[in-house]
Structures are given as C-alpha cells and as structure tokens.
Symmetry: C2
Subunit: 340 residues, 2 copies
DNA sequence: GATTAGCAGTCACATACCGCGAGTGCCAGT
DNA sequence: ACTGGCACTCGCGGTATGTGACTGCTAATC
C-alpha cells in the first residue's frame, strides 16, 4: 500500500501543482521540500502513487499532476483547513458588517466569496418553506392591474403582478385585503397554500372571478419556493483560469448560466448540511462540469430555512483556502441572517 | 468625397466581415455581390475608404476590416433596421407573455435579449424617483431586529433590515407603523424623504432612539434610488467571441461585473430616450471597453419611470439585428410594465 | 475620366525540421 | 530500503521554407 511518505509526496505534488500549474517532478520535490531522501526514492514513491491512480503524467517524460482521485484523497485526508488570514477576516467584516436588505446581503456575500477564493461564487436564496405569512398587501397599478405583495417573517418579500379582465371596485379590493390578512397572517406557507386552495373560505364576493384570480396568484406566491434562485459573481475568474481547461470554457460558462443545472448539483450536495462538501472533477460530469470542482456549505437564515452557497472553479484550485473561505462566509451569513 | 458606390462597398465590407470574421478583399466582394464592375475598380474605392479611415488593413497584404469610424457610418446611415423575424417575435411572446413579478420579468428579459442577440445583455432596474409611497410595513424578525418594507405604486418593493440596540415594545411598533403610514402614504419619494428628515413630525414616542433608527432607515429607503442595480446575462457569449478581442477578455469581463462602470456608461447614453443609441469601440475607452460596442434603449415602467436596457459585445457584431432586438424588447417591456 | 487587365511585391500562415532539456525508469551498488 | 548513474523519451521553442491571398501600380481600353 501507499506509505506515509508517499502520502506526503502526494500532498506536496498537489500543493506545488496548484501553485505553479507545472507538472511536478522528483527533482523539484527534493529541492523545494526537505524529505531527507534522494530524488530516486521520491521517484519510487511516485511510481506507487501512479499505480494507485492518484497522480498521472500528461506525457511520458514530464512531471506528474494529481488525478481527480488524487485531489479527492487530498481533500479528505491531507488538506489542512487553516483558518482565514487576518486580512480575509477583515474583508468579511467590512463587506457584510453594515446592515442591508436580504437581496443586498446576498449580493455582497457572493462578491465577497468570489474575491476571497478567486473563483466563481454562488449563493442560493433561502427557502421559504418554514416561513410564516406576516402581511399581505394589494397595490393597484392601473385599472385592470394590481400588485400582490406577500411579506413573510423570514424577511422575504414576494411580489407579483395580476392582470384583471375587468376593473375591480375599490371597496371590494379593500375588503378582500382585509379578509386575506385576517385569514392568513400567522399561517405557515403550506397551510396558507391549502387554505387558499379550499375554494371561497373567504366568503362570497361581488366580483368573484377577479377575486379568484387574485387568490390564485397568491396561492402561487405562497407555493413558489424561491429556493430556485441563485446569484453568481466572479465569472471573470473562470476566464483567468482558462488554461486549466482542456477545451473552451464556453460550455462551462453555459452550464453555469443555466441555473437549473447548478440547483440540481446543489441539491445533490445537500447531504452534508453544514460542513463544507466538495465535488471534484468527473464527479460533476452529469452536469457538464467534468473539469471543475464545486465546494459548498449550507447556511441557515431566520427560522431555520436552509440554503447553500459555494464556489466553482477548475479542479486545480486551492482547496484548503477555498474550503476555509466557504465555511467562514457560510457561518458569518448564518449568524447575520439567523435568529441570535 | 466618397461616392455612392464606395458607401455600398463599405456596407458589404461590414456585412461580410461581421459574418465571417475574415478581412474582406476586393476579389471576394465582386464574387459575392453583383457590383457589375471589376475587382480593380473595387480596389480603387477601397483605397478611397481607407483614406477616409473607414476601413483598415490588419497587415500589408490582406483584406480590409471596418474601423470604429466605419462602423459608426454604417450604423448611422447604412444599417437597415429590419424588423424581427417571426421566430424572434414568437420568442418574445413566449418568454415575456406569462405574468410574473418585476424581478422575474427583468430576469427573463435579460435572458431573452441575450438569446436574441447572442451577446451579453443588460437590464437596469427602473428608477423609483417618480413613484409614490403605497404602504409601509414593519416586520419583527427577532427581539432586536426588524424588517422595514416600503411598497410603492410603481410595483417596486424595497426592504431593509434594522438592528435595534434594545428590544422594541410591540405596542410602540404598531403605533409607529400606523403613524408612518398615515403620514407618508400618497407622498412622492422626494417629499417622503424630506418629511422623514424633518425630525419628529410623527409626534413623541417612548423609545425615541429606536424610532429614530427606524425612520432613518426608512429615509434611506425612500432616498435609495434603486436605479443603481442591473441584471446581466449571457456572459458566455463574450467567451464565444473571444477571438474578436486583441488581448484577453478578462479585463472586459471585469469591467462588466463592476456594475458601477456600466451604470455610468448607461448614464452617458441616456440622451436619446427611446430610440436605440449605439456606442462603438473607442468611444467606450473611458470605461475600459475600447473593443466593445454597446447598444441601449430606454424603457419606461409604471408612472413614467425610466431605465435602460441593452447589449454589449465586440465591435464586430450584427448591428442591424441587435438594434432591432434591443428596440423590440424595450418596447415590449414598456408595454408590459407601463400604464396601458 | 472612369474602368480594366496584368503583374510584381508583400506578408501572414502552415508545415517541417532540429536541438535542447527536463524528467523518467531501471539497474547495480551500498 | 535507499542512492547514483545512465540511457531514453518526448514536448517545446526556434528557424527555415513554401504557399496563397491581397494589394498597389501602370498602361491600355471604353
């Protein structure tokens, strides 16, 4: 089997390769690190590692680079999750310190994460599922058009425009708003949805068809689990690391812009709720991201609503630093949004 | 001066070059188009155009490509703004047809625009400046934290989290909400802001410091002209057109992600309110986008609030098609959001 | 005067070739 | 188990060469 020293060799191969993007050879290893053995010995270890498919040679006479499997072993057993530097910690403070609304906080978080890791950063909107209805507001926009606003106690606001076939009388609107609020405030999302589904539990109205339209929209809104939205930043970083991809990065960028793909990927990684989970290289092949690695962590907002955030980049990335950054931002965000 | 035929030559040079990305020579012009003259004659015309700096040769013995000035002339006088194809019109219908909330509509618009033009698309959020206060809601999130929600009659919702030094008593909160609503509903944004600035126009409160904090936040909110937010889509298209840039596209992508830059650019292009305005190549140099062109058009939402949308791509782009697409989407969006 | 044919000249690009050097694998010796 | 030595491999950068697409110019033609 692979000896302790061999693993140590794997570690430095990963580290040096990540740092320099050059295949690393036995010579440079003994030069840069103090193993106390000769290059030939290192070569034997490398032969071993190659047999285990932890490293590979791009061509016959060149240094070695880690395989996906090698990275996996590194991440699982070898990476030291060193805490963030003071400067990085400082960056989090200044970026997220000031209060702002949810949209703004998430937008800042994603930029922050992308700057800390120099990768593409992703933040998923928190789920609404455990939130409760706090208030409902109906705002007339024009004769036949109104805005239905749903405010939840999780600090989320859901708005939608309703087109009416015919103008709705002002008093009806006011009455409807009052009844909706008294019927729904305090209910959880699922209860509210079923309450709205149960026909005219609000009693009879003059303009029933318009009212039905509005309640229908509202039912959509409480049902619409906006977890299916995510924000992204740092696409430029992908271009910077273009040389790490064999082909063009075009399909990668395409996959990233197709949020559905990422949301599925996030879903699959959800097992590990709070620690950082890592998906490496070909593990992401089903998503068209066979040459990228994705690091995510869950975070929780008010009321225990869960979502994930993370970074995406070429398999050749600084896992130690990036895992630490993802973890730190997730924790900070949980603290910022969560119940204290 | 440049003769009519010379201009015709310029037009086909632009069209062919945009279509093929190959410098176009006199031979290929007479082959592909029926000018009824020989290649030598075309060469004379091209010499003329070159003298006027409308076209240039990348190297001594090669075809010509349009200069920024050439594109400018093309856009101003030569481009035929052909209407969209049936398929494109259809795409707009299906993409924007279904009703949804403002966020959703803008998100779809930007994706649509990017698909129609195969370029990076940008949509700016509508200004709040002419909107009126419709409702104010204060939602407690925890003991010392609450969400302040501002709903305007333009269909925009502005939310913000307030951190309180000490818990706020429930009755005070309810009272505050009532007084705020009765004081502010119906006011324009600027009036509301000044009304909030004028000290305790709401009368005395028990927990004055907390109340001040809340009204302060609210003042921020009505003042915060969220025009400074924009959504983007289609970054992958920049990568696809990477060969059209001399250096890396990294700085371009960076400039794009730095929204401030784009907002300034949008601001400068605002002169022409509704037609499509075009900014070509070096005209964008101050923004670090010397090799890109930007097409924008204004659009209006409820209450005459103005914002802009547009596309950005390499100077070598299909101006005719893209201008038509920008105009069409802007119009559709105005119709969708505006008062009918 | 505008247009044309012909021709010499230019220059990017593709191809082939060559030498260098980093790095390996193996083997015999400690 | 480790080391020094050595033959071998192969990617990479640099140079030389041939090819072809174009142009610019000149002199002849409508």
């Amino acid at each position: 089997m692979v000896s302790d020293r061999s693993l140590e060799v794997l570690r430095v191969i990963v580290q040096d390769y990540v740092a320099s993007r050059e295949p690393v050879g036995s010579k440079s290893i003994v030069d840069r690190h103090s193993f106390g053995v000769s290059a030939a010995t290192i070569r034997n270890d490398m032969a071993l590692l190659e047999e285990e498919e932890l490293i590979a040679a791009p061509h016959t006479s060149s240094g070695r680079i880690p395989t996906d499997k090698g990275y996996r072993l590194f991440v699982d057993h070898l990476a030291d999750l060193r805490p963030l530097s003071a400067a990085q910690r400082q960056a989090i403070e200044t970026f997220l310190g000031q209060s702002a609304d949810l949209d703004e906080v998430l937008a800042r978080s994603v930029r922050l994460l992308s700057q800390l890791t120099h990768q593409v950063a992703l933040v998923q909107y928190p789920s609404l599922s455990r939130a409760k209805v706090r208030h409902i507001e109906l705002v007339p926009l024009s004769e036949t058009r109104l805005l239905s606003v749903l405010i939840t106690d999780a600090g989320r606001v859901e708005q939608r425009v309703v087109d009416l076939p015919r103008p709705l009388a002002e008093p009806v609107l006011i009455e409807l708003r009052a009844r909706l609020n008294s019927a729904l405030i305090g209910l959880g999302m699922t209860e509210a949805a079923s309450s709205l589904t149960g026909g005219s539990s609000l009693g009879p109205f003059e303009q029933q068809e318009a009212v039905d339209l509005i309640t229908g929209t509202l039912r959509d809104q409480v049902g619409a689990n906006r977890q299916d939205r995510l924000v992204m930043a740092g696409a430029a970083n992908l271009v910077r690391t273009e040389e790490d991809f064999t082909g063009s990065i075009y399909p990668v960028l395409e996959a990233i812009e197709e949020q559905v793909v990422l949301l599925r990927l996030f879903g699959e990684m959800a097992s590990d709720q709070h620690g950082v989970s890592v998906s490496i290289g070909r593990e992401n092949a089903p998503f068209g991201l066979a040459e990228t690695s994705v690091l995510t962590s869950g975070y929780s907002s008010q009321g225990g609503n869960l979502a994930r955030l993370g970074v995406l980049g070429p398999t050749r990335m600084d896992y130690s630093n990036n895992m630490a950054a993802v973890r730190a931002v997730a924790r900070y965000l949980s603290r910022l949004l969560g119940e204290n």
